[in-house]
Symmetry: C2
Subunit: 237 residues, 2 copies
DNA sequence: GCAAAAGTGTTGTGTCTACACCCATGT
DNA sequence: ACATGGGTGTAGACACAACACTTTTGC
């Protein structure tokens, strides 16, 4: 298997990751400054060549491990594979992009050539990485609406206001804490922990703490329309 | 560019397509019977090796052109890239899978080693192709609910009953013609052509003919929830 | 008491399913 | 006339956004 029996020319293959986190109330992406040509000095997505015996997911986890502690990745999913033959000026190279998420309460140690950048205000990126970041953001936004993916942005415990700020940063628009709470509780995505956050120095009622019921991705708004026929589902007996 | 400057070992790369069509009122997939080892004689997805200077999409279109007339593909989108190092017994091989759709009124000429199979009753497939077919079906089902993707399953003109049968076959459950019509008209996905289908031999009111307003994929049910704030959108003035 | 922050009650709206009913055609 | 299939009217269920109001804290 390590000796391909094909006589077809094969492209180089790299894995890339759009790693997103809400930092300072803003959605940010982890970028890495290229040390070498092509695009020397430009910011780019972390990643690297696929090694033998690695799956694509293994590969991107391995490359990311050099930047951030992989245990800190709360979610990782494949985005798409890019194949424009001119996407790299030097070689025939395919790239499989992943979306990775990091909870907001974590501040990983980073090497000197690596830093967070606001997705709303990115510098020019190497290759086609700019459009990949935007694709990752769109995927995140869509899944926040119809899945429980919020778990990947949030700490283990949080108040509704804190969660609201995370959603607002990721979605790019204001979110009402009132309605967010009701939607996520109705869908049984959140559950109360029973504990409370202490009031801040300026006073105010202490907020109750919640947690996500599960850290596995689940679709919570299946069948937005064209449901299968049948009597209405019982309202959670 | 045709001379990779990398010294990394590179995997073989193939493109595959799950081509789906509603035939005889049932969702079916286009399969091809392997002439050679490995998996000689087994049914498998059409596709083949990626050639230099091809994008992945070019590649799968080219391979499909040997089976069906590509102009008959009403939709083509990337599904995922598979990379398990053991997925092919002979070589290190990645596969990028696509979903292709063919309108129900077309009956392409097929070579002798190629045929349609009901997705609900597939034979054992080569490699990991069985799970890819199911992933394609799930993608189709999801997008039928929140996009106008129905255009890719339907002929240019159709009655609501005919469209209902297509949706039912693809979704795998009964669909109400009444509600289907109202949902798709409200969303302005369908428009009446003004023409009618003649009655069948057994009588019955002739059905009005409709068409999809566009054959570009559009999201018609954006923001199922967590809409951006603001006054309610005007009800289509 | 007053400001600040959290949380609940309530109303209105839009979208969907279900089902009854009416319409147009062939025999 | 009556069977067959197409289409409309309408009622009820539900989920959501918006906003007023109440509760709990610090000062």
């Amino acid at each position: 298997m390590s000796e391909p029996t094909t006589r077809h020319p094969t492209p180089a293959h790299v894995t890339l990751a759009v790693v997103l986190q809400v930092r300072d109330g803003v959605l940010q992406a982890l970028l890495w400054q290229r040390a070498r040509e092509p695009f020397k000095g430009r910011w780019s997505l972390p990643g690297g060549y696929l090694a033998e015996r690695d799956t694509l997911e293994d590969s991107i986890r391995r490359h990311l491990a050099e930047k951030v502690d992989v245990r800190e990745l709360s979610h990782l999913e494949q985005l798409e594979t890019l194949s424009d033959p001119t996407r790299s000026p030097r070689e025939w190279q395919l790239a499989t992009a992943y979306l990775g998420l990091v909870p907001s309460d974590i501040d990983p140690e980073l090497p000197g050539d690596t830093d967070w950048h606001r997705v709303d205000d990115l510098p020019p990126l190497a290759f086609d990485h700019g459009s990949i970041v935007l694709a990752g953001r769109e995927r995140l936004r869509a899944k926040l609406s119809y899945t429980n993916l919020g778990f990947a942005l949030a700490p283990d415990e949080f108040t509704i206001s804190e969660l609201r700020d995370l959603y607002a940063a990721a979605l790019g628009h204001d979110v009402s804490a009132t309605n967010l709470q009701r939607v996520l509780l109705r869908r049984e995505v959140l559950e109360p922990t029973g504990r409370q956050r202490a009031s801040g120095p300026t006073g105010g009622r202490p907020g109750s703490l919640f947690r996500f019921r599960t850290s596995e991705l689940e679709i919570t708004d299946q069948f937005a329309v064209l449901r299968p026929p049948g009597p209405a589902r019982l309202p959670v007996a």
